[in-house]
């Protein structure tokens, strides 16, 4: 990627990456894990590893995204599941044994595991 040599180039670049991110959201399953220090301290590293294992077992192609702290540290590890074109839904206190059920019910059957849901990330955020 080259340098942006003007404001116009920055704006073009912004439009392009925005479009690309939109396309990813339309096409792919995105799993987002909060891996700030608070998340990692609560065990997000182990949860993330379990997500990789369970996805591989089921041969599911999903994008794993890592983000910082969204604020509600007490509910870490936080894991968001976003199906193509669907809202981003956050699960709270996700420990490794919970991962398989989230994948089976939410990703494979399309039904969020309601009892573990913290909330839906607002589109405007």
């Amino acid at each position: 990627m080259g340098k942006l040599n003007s404001v116009a180039e920055l704006v073009d670049f912004q439009q392009r990456v925005k479009r690309e991110l939109q396309e990813v959201k339309q096409k792919r399953i995105i799993i987002t894990v909060g891996t700030g220090t608070c998340g990692l301290a609560a065990g997000a590293g182990e949860t993330l590893e379990q997500i990789r294992i369970e996805l591989e077992k089921r041969n599911i192609d999903a994008m794993i995204n890592r983000v910082g702290c969204i604020g509600i540290c007490v509910r870490e590890p936080l894991v968001d599941v976003q199906l193509p074109g669907q809202p981003r839904i956050t699960y709270a206190n996700v420990k490794p044994p919970m991962v398989a059920r989230i994948i089976d019910e939410h990703i494979l059957a399309g039904q969020p595991v309601q009892e573990w849901v913290l909330g839906v990330v607002p589109e405007e955020w």
């Binding site: 003007s6 983000v67 604020g71 007490v74 839906v120 990330v121």
Partner: protein, 515 residues
């Protein structure tokens, strides 16, 4: 919160199902928040500059560089009335103006990320979750004051923050958003990270700059202020992480927008790390003027375990505590000071009825006096003397004249110390003495600790009527102070008892009494 969805039909489609779930903005934790500096935290991948740029990242810098003169940038910052989020609350725009007017070259832009308060993690979370917002804010500041070089002073105990910053700086350089001729303009800005070794005093700006220079982290008297003579005796602008993170949003949305949020004399938002005896431990951003009650009970979810709220400490080890009567205080720079605490950098520690306020003050005093750099006498010796008095009181050896002595030493530290560390070290003691004087007096005159915490003033005993002789306490007592036969009432020997409280925790019959 999931109870609301319990009546939902399991056969509804995924789309309807998601609609029935609460949105973040419906949750009590988030409904009163207003995210400016935390806008991207937890939303974007901080290791990908593309995600920051997709959300208008670096557009504020682009706008400032091409559409605004440095004086106009400073004008916007002044009109926004942003006050420095490090704690002192000095108007950021005016600080920038001082640095701009300093004739010497080169000039430096410095970010104070030496967050050292126990229980504070605001700056760490921003640097980890959205490092580019801080980088962009620093670049805008550099353009405004006429600087081409910046330093982020971040403590080495924040390895993830430093890693994300390094990645972010690298990516910004690759896109030409840092370096020479940024976005094709004549503006150059290079940014470096200086890892601090974790000395609390290095959060003081003159000590921080001494540390960057490779000298011992000790403060020096001001004036001259950094804007005139800072890093390597050159004009320097030092702001906190949160102030820089808010800067791009102010440039993008305008001074009026920012000034319209929050309180009249403290516009914008305040960021707090909520910790201690509170249900929703976390990081929050609220409009200034939100009351402590709303923060602690609505957003924070109150005190766990049905316990009574006792006090809240703001401003960290250099701040002060406020009692329940002060819960309706609006959170802004002036109201908190008026109430007897300080805004500080954003730590907020809640304590409940089980906390002894003498012990609580002693904890912060232990921290602050250990972190005294030792350069000036009032801080070095005053802190030590205060700690000796508080230790004496909590051991049950307090003397009636001790309270006057505390006030006398505190006054002298406040007036004569070289920097804010020494001036504010007595803060927690003075605040707790002001609001919880009766608790100090109980320790001194009655030799009692009302919260039953201070080990020198409490005894453990077994209530014979409740004891079943199950032997659990005797087996768990680490000092072997509990004796008794199976099925018979046990006894604690107060001479051997270490007052650790393990017996209270393990007894299933509430048979241990603490007096």
């Amino acid at each position: 919160m999931n109870g609301e969805n319990s009546g939902m039909d399991n056969n509804t489609t995924m789309f309807l199902g998601a609609n029935a779930l609460p949105r973040y903005t419906d949750l009590p934790f988030y409904s009163k928040q207003y995210r400016i500096a935390l806008k991207n935290c937890g939303i974007i991948n901080p290791e990908r500059i593309e995600e920051y740029i997709a959300r208008d990242g670096y557009r504020a810098l682009a706008h400032a560089l091409t559409e605004m003169t440095p004086d106009e940038v400073i004008g916007v910052m002044k009109d926004s009335k942003l006050r420095g989020r490090g704690g002192a609350g000095f108007t950021t725009g005016i600080k920038w103006e001082f640095a701009r007017r300093s004739p010497q070259r080169p000039k430096y832009v410095i970010c104070n990320a030496d967050e050292g308060d126990p229980g504070a993690f605001m700056d760490r979370s921003i640097l980890e979750g959205d490092p580019h917002s801080v980088i962009e804010g620093m670049a805008i500041a550099a353009y405004a004051i006429g600087s081409e070089e910046g330093y982020i002073y971040c403590r080495a105990e924040y390895p993830l923050a430093i890693e994300h910053l390094k990645i972010a700086i690298q990516q910004a350089q690759e896109l030409g958003l840092l370096g020479e001729h940024i976005l094709g303009t004549d503006f150059n800005f290079r940014l470096f990270i200086k890892e601090g070794a974790g000395a609390f005093v290095c959060g003081e700006e003159t000590a921080l700059m001494a540390s960057i220079e490779g000298r011992r982290g000790e403060p020096r008297p001001r004036p001259p202020f950094p804007a005139v003579s800072g890093l390597w005796n050159k004009p320097s602008n030092v702001n906190n992480v949160k102030s820089y993170a808010m800067t791009p949003q102010i440039i993008l949305n305008g001074a009026e927008w920012f000034a319209s949020i929050g309180a009249e004399r403290s516009p914008g938002t305040a960021i707090f790390a909520l910790t201690g005896r509170i249900n929703n431990t976390g990081l929050i951003e609220i409009p200034m003027g939100t009351t402590l009650r709303e923060i602690i009970f609505d957003i924070g979810g109150g005190v766990p375990g049905g316990k009574q709220f006792k006090a809240v400490q703001t401003g960290g080890p250099l701040g002060g505590c406020l009692p329940a009567e002060a819960l309706d205080t609006p959170v802004d720079f002036d109201s908190l000071v008026k109430a007897g605490a300080t805004m500080g950098s954003g730590g907020m520690i809640v304590v409940d009825e089980d906390t002894c306020m003498v012990e609580f003050a002693k904890y912060f005093l232990t921290f602050a006096s250990a972190e005294s750099c030792g350069k000036c006498v009032p801080c070095r010796i005053g802190g030590r003397r205060l700690l000796e008095i508080l230790t004496r009181i909590s051991n049950g050896e307090g003397k009636p004249e001790d309270l006057d002595e505390i006030e006398y030493i505190s006054r002298n530290m406040k007036e004569a110390s070289l920097c804010a560390l020494g001036q504010l070290t007595p803060g927690p003691v003075m605040a707790s003495l002001r609001f919880f004087r009766a608790e100090y007096e109980a320790h001194i005159y009655d030799k009692k600790c009302p919260a039953k915490v201070c080990k020198g003033l409490i005894t453990y005993s077994i209530i014979p009527e409740k004891c079943t002789g199950c032997m659990v306490c005797a087996r768990n007592c680490p000092s072997g102070a509990i004796t008794g036969e199976k099925g018979k009432v046990h006894v604690i020997d107060p001479e051997i008892c270490e007052r650790c409280g393990i017996c209270v925790e393990v007894c299933k019959f509430d048979a241990i009494m603490v007096e």
